[in-house]
Every structure is written in structure tokens, then in C-alpha cells.
Amino acid sequence: MKRLSLTIVRLALAGLGAFLAVPAMADPTAHDLLAKYDAVMGPESFESVIAMTAHRDDGSSRAYKMRVLKKGDDKFRAWFDEPAAVRGQEMLRQGDNLWVYMPSLKRAVRLANRDSFQGGDFNNADVLRVNYQADYSATLAADAGRADAWLLELKAKTKDAAYDSIKLWMRKADLQPLKGEYYTASGKMLRAAEFSEFKNFAGLVRPGKIVMKNMIATQRYSIMSWDSMNTKVNPAATKFVLDDMGK
């Protein structure tokens, strides 16, 4: 009898614990989802090794490998390691400013955010400017076809945003991004992204692979995959200045 009572108490405590551990939650707001997207795709600081393969109309492809470093909301560096023809090339973003360093010229020049990233199907902002909270206002919309996902509709709120609008699907269960569509002001879809191969980088779970399809030249797509991501780095702010490029 005593053993039975103990078991009942244990079950009750376990049930209470479970109740306390999973509080009832209201639906997240668009603002919350956008904050989560930025937290997953652009943590405060990180250093990563990223591979990108650009697939072209004729079936051929070009592979790139780069090391990237991010600090805060607006500082980003990228160093290209592969292929050999672009090794030594660098990119820097500080705020709304973007530069590329060309080793063949030994100098850096300013770039626009909307330029394509290494001729692939990502643009510079897709890679170097993952701070949607700063660039877009968001509203929640319904997608009857995807009951498992939230649909966010983003509208550019700064002139420096890369797209006029974006549709973003995030998985309800864990708020991981699943899919994105990127539009011009005329409503034309430029690109479509699929997020997959979720990885745990020392505690940070995020998509390890993004397939970006070109919706203008529909045979073209680029795949970006994250080989490593270290969120424990604390790079100096002077790593993100124009004069550090090429060193």
C-alpha cells in the first residue's frame, strides 16, 4: 500500500513537472518569428566555413568555399578559399556598406547589396545581410497548404533591403525556416529557397543547407552548405573595417 502511494505521488509529481515544463503558449507574433529567424540564420557572432555550388543552365557547376565571420547585427567578413581563381578575394559588410577586395588589383571597391554573390543565385544581401528585422516589416499570413508551418510576409522598410518582399515559411514545431520566396516590387518572384539538413553546431540548431533556385532562369540554382559554425568567437571590431581587407 505504501509502495502504491509512493508510485501515485511520483506520477503526480511527474505530471505536474510535465505541466510546468510545457506551458500553454499563444501563437507567436510576426515580430517574434522574425526575431527567431535572425537568431537562427544570423547569430550574434559566429565563424563558419561555407561551401557553395552554383549549377548552371547547361548542367555544369562551379564550386566555391569560403570562411565567414560575423559580429553583431551589421558586421560581416568573407574570405574565399576555392576555387583557386578567386582565392584571396574578400568581402566586407559594415552596416549598409559593402566592399569587395580583389587580390589581382590589391584594392577594395564598394559594391551594391543587390549584386549576385559570386555569380551564383544568392545575392550579396542573402549571405552578408541576414538581419531581416532591420530590413523588413512582417505580417503573419495563412497558408492552407502548410498546416505545419507559419507563413511570414515581409515587406522592405529600407531602401537597402535586397528584395521588395519575401514570403517565409517557418516550421511550427521548432521555428526552423523551411522555405522562402523572394519578390521584386512588381511582384515577380526572383528566387526561391529551401532550407534543409538541420545541424546542431555545438548547441545551435539551424539548416545546414540552403538550395536557392533562380526563378528567372529556372534551370539555375545554387546550394550553400555550412561545414562548421562556431558561435563562441568574439572578433575585434577592427576586423570589420575597410583597411583590414587584403591583410
Partner: protein
């Protein structure tokens, strides 16, 4: 209802049990790398064919019809980090070994007819080792860096030309990848998030062997009767005991999304005839509407280091002889210390199309360039010297102002642009992906006073990730002859119309590793 983001499932760490099974765990490396080494380079073979303007005003006897340039390049970059992953130093090298062959020389004979010149030794086509960069940079703290060695430092935003660049050998606007050489210098730099202070001291190479410097700053005191000046000409050095250097203090700021540089230079016999000359430089670059880049870059000083020709001395060989015998200088640096403020400025706009294409237009004001009369005197002098050269006399140093002679001895250049007049337009178009693996560059450089210029198109095919094939051309545009300078014999010549190069084409194969 708004909800605190922190109360939501943490997307960065949480996952449902079903999803956990599909999440791969990436184990980080135990310790960060302390030394990062990057190496790359290329093997390049370039075949050139030139349509020689044997009847042009400037002598063509050293301009080959065909040439081959083979280059082996290695670039090394080192970066040291401390145990916390912070940079403590870096270093770099960019070295090329060149083997060149050239032949097929033509000129005009005494009767003005085309005549073959026997293949002969031309310094520009010697095999050479080119140390473009070789430096070490120590970072004792986040806000202090000390660099020593050879480094190319360019602060101005000009696309085809940088008026504020007094340190490096002039770049070739038609083929900038061939001009990566820097200067031997020491630099102390204090970088901060929005601004940087740089103090630079650079020493002129006063003697070199096959591209390797033998002495810096002072000319050697052992018997050295001649050395090469910036145009590759031999000049006497025995009496020159002064130091040849440039110093620069530069402040950079990122202000309202604009790159701003302010520079103060002191130069002495570094790349020109100025001694202990202060100069001021300013530049700015800004992007508008996410597509337009506007830039301006200017340098100002009092005086002019441009060679001034006495017009009445160069009307004929007889007047020149008369001036020489009477002790009147035919040419000299008469405006070197005249106290008149002169500026050299470039202003330009670059439009980025969004598909990796860009077009730029720049205007260059060359404040110490020749006016119409001075240009006529210059042309008359060139005509006299050209006649003398065709008669077998040696051209004096400085005669090659408009020739495609290299400004950095041993460094291969298709074209060295040294503007001698006052107004120029520089237009360029670049499409790095006109089709998959194909890129094009077009450049037009034009003297706005006589509309002569050069046109330099380039097409590159990246056949493999490690191989690119480039076809390039270089054509001189004769311009409007009637607007050119008036020579002593009554003939008018445009600035680029005197160039002994009608056109040049080259094919290059470059293997990257």
C-alpha cells in the same frame, strides 16, 4: 498578442524528438588554428602581336611586332592568431618570375620609308623577378599595427586612375592585373571601427637587379655611373647624394556611409622632381540608391614637376643648337617652385546593374598638364628628339612621356598612362558574367582636347575553375589632328596619335593553382 521572443521555443537549440533524429551533430575542432596559411598563384603564357606605327612621331625601334611573356606567380598569405583567436600578425608575398621574348622591329628610315630593324636587346623584355609585395605586419594591440616591407597601398576610390597615389608605380588602366607592385615602406596604422590613422614612409628603389632591389633611399656610393629612372631610361647618379622618399599621413573615416580619406604627403625625388614637397589629398566614395557609386579623388600642391619645353628652342635642330650653345636650357623644371597651386582630380560615377555588370565614367582634370602652347612645344621637342633618334642619336631621359614604356622597371605593362594635357574622359564597362564563364571589359581613355585616346577591350573565358583564356586588344584612337599640338615643321599631332603602336592584340592562358 505580442509575446516575448524568449518565451517561444528556442529555435536555436530546441527540436522535437522526431526532428532530433534528423539533426546532425557537428563537433567543433578542439582548438583554433594559430597559423593560417593561404597560397595561390598562376602560370601564364601571353602571346602578343603589335601593329607597329613605324611612321608615328615617337620612335618605334624598341616596339616589337611580336612578344611572348611567360609568368610564374606565387602568392603567400600568413595570419597568426593568439590562443583566444585574435590576430597578432600577418604577412604576405606576391612574387612573379618572368621570361620574355620579343622580335620584329620596324622604323622609318632617313627617307621616311618603312625599314626593318635587326632584333636587339630591349631592357623591357629582359627576364625578371618581380617582387610585387613582401611584407610583415605586427599587431601589438587591436588599435595598432606596424608593417614593414613592400606593399601596395591605394587609398583613393578612382577606378582607372588614382591621383592621390604617390607611393606605388603607376598602374596600367588597360590591364590593372599586371600592375600589382607596391612600394618599399614602413607603416604605422591605428585602426578603429569608423576611422583609421596611417603614417607611411616609403623609400625609392635606387638600384635593382632583375627586379630585386639592390639599394633603397640613397643611390649607392660605390662607382655607379648610371641607373634606371622610372621610365626605364639610364640616368647619371654619381652626384646624387640626397635621400629619395615619400611620407604620408592619412586619416580615413566612414561618415554617413561615405568613405572619406584626407592625406598629407611630403615627397622628395620619389617619383618626380619635387624636393621636400608637401601635398594634400582628399577622396570620397558613396553609394546611392543601392546602384550608383559616386567618387571623387583629388591631389593638390604648389608648383609642377612636369618638364617644360622652351618653345622657341625646339622649332628646328638649328634653334635647339642655338639655345644649347648660348646656355639657354631647351627644357627644364621651370615651374617646380613657382608657387602656383595645381590640382589633379578625378570625379566619377559607377552604375552597378545587379547582374555583376557595371559601367563607370570618370573625368580627370590634370591641373599641371600642358596648355595648347605648351603642348605644341612638347610636340616640337618630341619631333626633334624623334628625328635625332632616327639619325642614330640617343634620346635623353624624359623623352618618353607618351610612350608605352614601363614605369616600374622590369614590370610588364601594356600601357603606362601619364596624362600630359588637362582634360580626360575615362569610360569602362565590365560584365563578369556575360554568359556562364565569359566576362568582358571595355575601356576607353580619351584626351578631351584633341579626342585622341585608347580603346582596350578584353574577353575572358574561364574554361575551367583553374584555367582562364583571355583575348585582349589595345587600339590607339588618333583623334582630331587639327586640335593637336603644332610641331616645328607645321604638322599637328594629337596626344595619342604620336604613339608608335597602332594596335596590339594578345592571347593569354592562365592556369591557377
Amino acid at each position: 498578442m505580442a509575446q516575448d521572443a524568449a518565451a517561444l521555443p528556442d529555435a536555436g537549440t530546441a527540436a522535437t524528438p522526431e526532428q532530433s533524429a534528423e539533426i546532425a551533430l557537428v563537433v567543433p575542432a578542439d582548438a583554433p588554428q594559430r597559423l593560417l596559411v593561404t597560397t595561390n598563384g598562376w602560370l601564364d603564357s601571353r602571346q602578343s602581336y603589335t601593329r607597329v606605327g613605324w611612321d608615328r612621331l615617337l620612335p618605334s625601334r624598341d616596339v616589337p611586332t611580336w612578344s611572348n611573356l611567360s609568368e610564374a606567380n606565387i602568392q603567400l598569405k600568413l595570419r597568426w592568431k593568439d590562443k583566444d583567436g585574435q590576430d597578432v600578425g600577418d604577412g604576405g608575398a606576391d612574387v612573379s618570375f618572368l621570361y620574355q621574348k620579343a622580335g620584329g622591329y620596324w622604323t622609318a628610315d632617313d627617307t621616311g620609308q618603312q625599314a626593318r630593324v635587326a632584333d636587339h636587346d630591349v631592357a623591357t623584355y629582359h627576364p625578371a623577378a618581380i617582387v610585387s609585395e613582401l611584407y610583415g605586419n605586427w599587431r601589438p594591440s587591436e588599435h595598432l599595427q606596424i608593417l614593414l616591407g613592400k606593399k601596395r597601398i591605394t587609398w583613393g576610390p578612382g577606378i582607372t586612375l588614382n591621383p592621390t597615389d604617390l607611393l606605388n608605380p603607376p598602374k596600367d588602366p588597360s590591364d590593372p592585373t599586371l600592375q600589382r607592385a607596391g612600394a618599399w615602406l614602413a607603416r604605422v596604422e591605428a585602426p578603429f571601427e569608423k576611422w583609421t590613422l596611417s603614417l607611411v614612409g616609403a623609400a625609392k628603389v635606387t638600384r635593382q637587379y632583375g627586379g630585386i632591389p639592390g639599394s633603397l633611399l640613397y643611390y649607392p656610393d660605390y662607382p655607379a655611373l648610371t641607373t634606371l629612372d622610372n621610365n626605364g631610361n639610364k640616368v647619371a647618379t654619381a652626384d646624387d647624394t640626397r635621400p629619395h622618399f615619400a611620407t604620408a599621413l592619412r586619416a580615413y573615416g566612414l561618415w554617413h556611409e561615405t568613405d572619406i580619406n584626407a592625406m598629407v604627403y611630403m615627397t622628395q625625388l620619389y617619383n618626380d622632381a619635387f624636393t621636400w614637397k608637401p601635398r594634400l589629398g582628399l577622396s570620397a566614395s558613396h553609394i546611392f540608391a543601392n546602384a550608383w557609386e559616386l567618387h571623387v579623388e583629388a591631389l593638390g600642391q604648389t608648383g609642377s614637376a612636369r618638364l617644360q619645353v622652351q618653345g622657341d628652342c625646339v622649332q628646328s635642330l638649328a634653334t635647339a643648337v642655338g639655345c644649347v650653345t648660348s646656355g639657354k636650357p631647351v627644357a627644364g623644371y621651370s615651374k617646380l617652385d613657382d608657387g602656383v597651386f595645381r590640382a589633379k582630380a578625378i570625379a566619377g560615377v559607377r552604375y552597378m546593374f545587379g547582374d555583376a555588370a557595371q559601367v563607370s565614367a570618370e573625368y580627370l582634370y590634370n591641373g599641371d598638364g600642358y596648355n595648347s602652347n605648351e603642348f605644341s612645344s612638347y610636340i616640337s621637342a618630341v619631333q626633334l628628339m624623334s628625328s635625332a633618334a632616327r639619325s642614330g642619336l640617343t634620346l635623353p631621359s624624359g623623352a618618353g612621356l607618351a610612350t608605352p614604356a614601363p614605369s616600374d622597371p622590369g614590370s610588364p605593362q601594356r600601357f603606362a598612362f601619364d596624362p600630359v594635357r588637362r582634360h580626360y574622359a575615362l569610360l569602362s564597362y565590365q560584365q563578369s558574367q556575360i554568359a556562364d564563364d565569359w566576362s568582358v571589359i571595355g575601356l576607353v581613355l580619351m584626351d578631351l582636347e584633341d579626342f585622341s585616346g585608347t580603346l582596350a577591350p578584353t574577353v575572358t573565358w574561364s574554361a575551367r575553375e583553374w584555367l582562364s583564356i583571355t583575348a585582349a586588344g589595345f587600339m590607339s584612337i588618333p583623334g582630331v589632328q587639327s586640335r593637336g599640338g603644332l610641331a616645328g615643321d607645321g604638322t599637328r599631332y594629337s596626344e595619342f596619335g604620336v604613339n608608335p603602336l597602332v594596335w596590339r592584340a594578345f592571347l593569354s592562358a592562365r592556369l591557377f593553382y
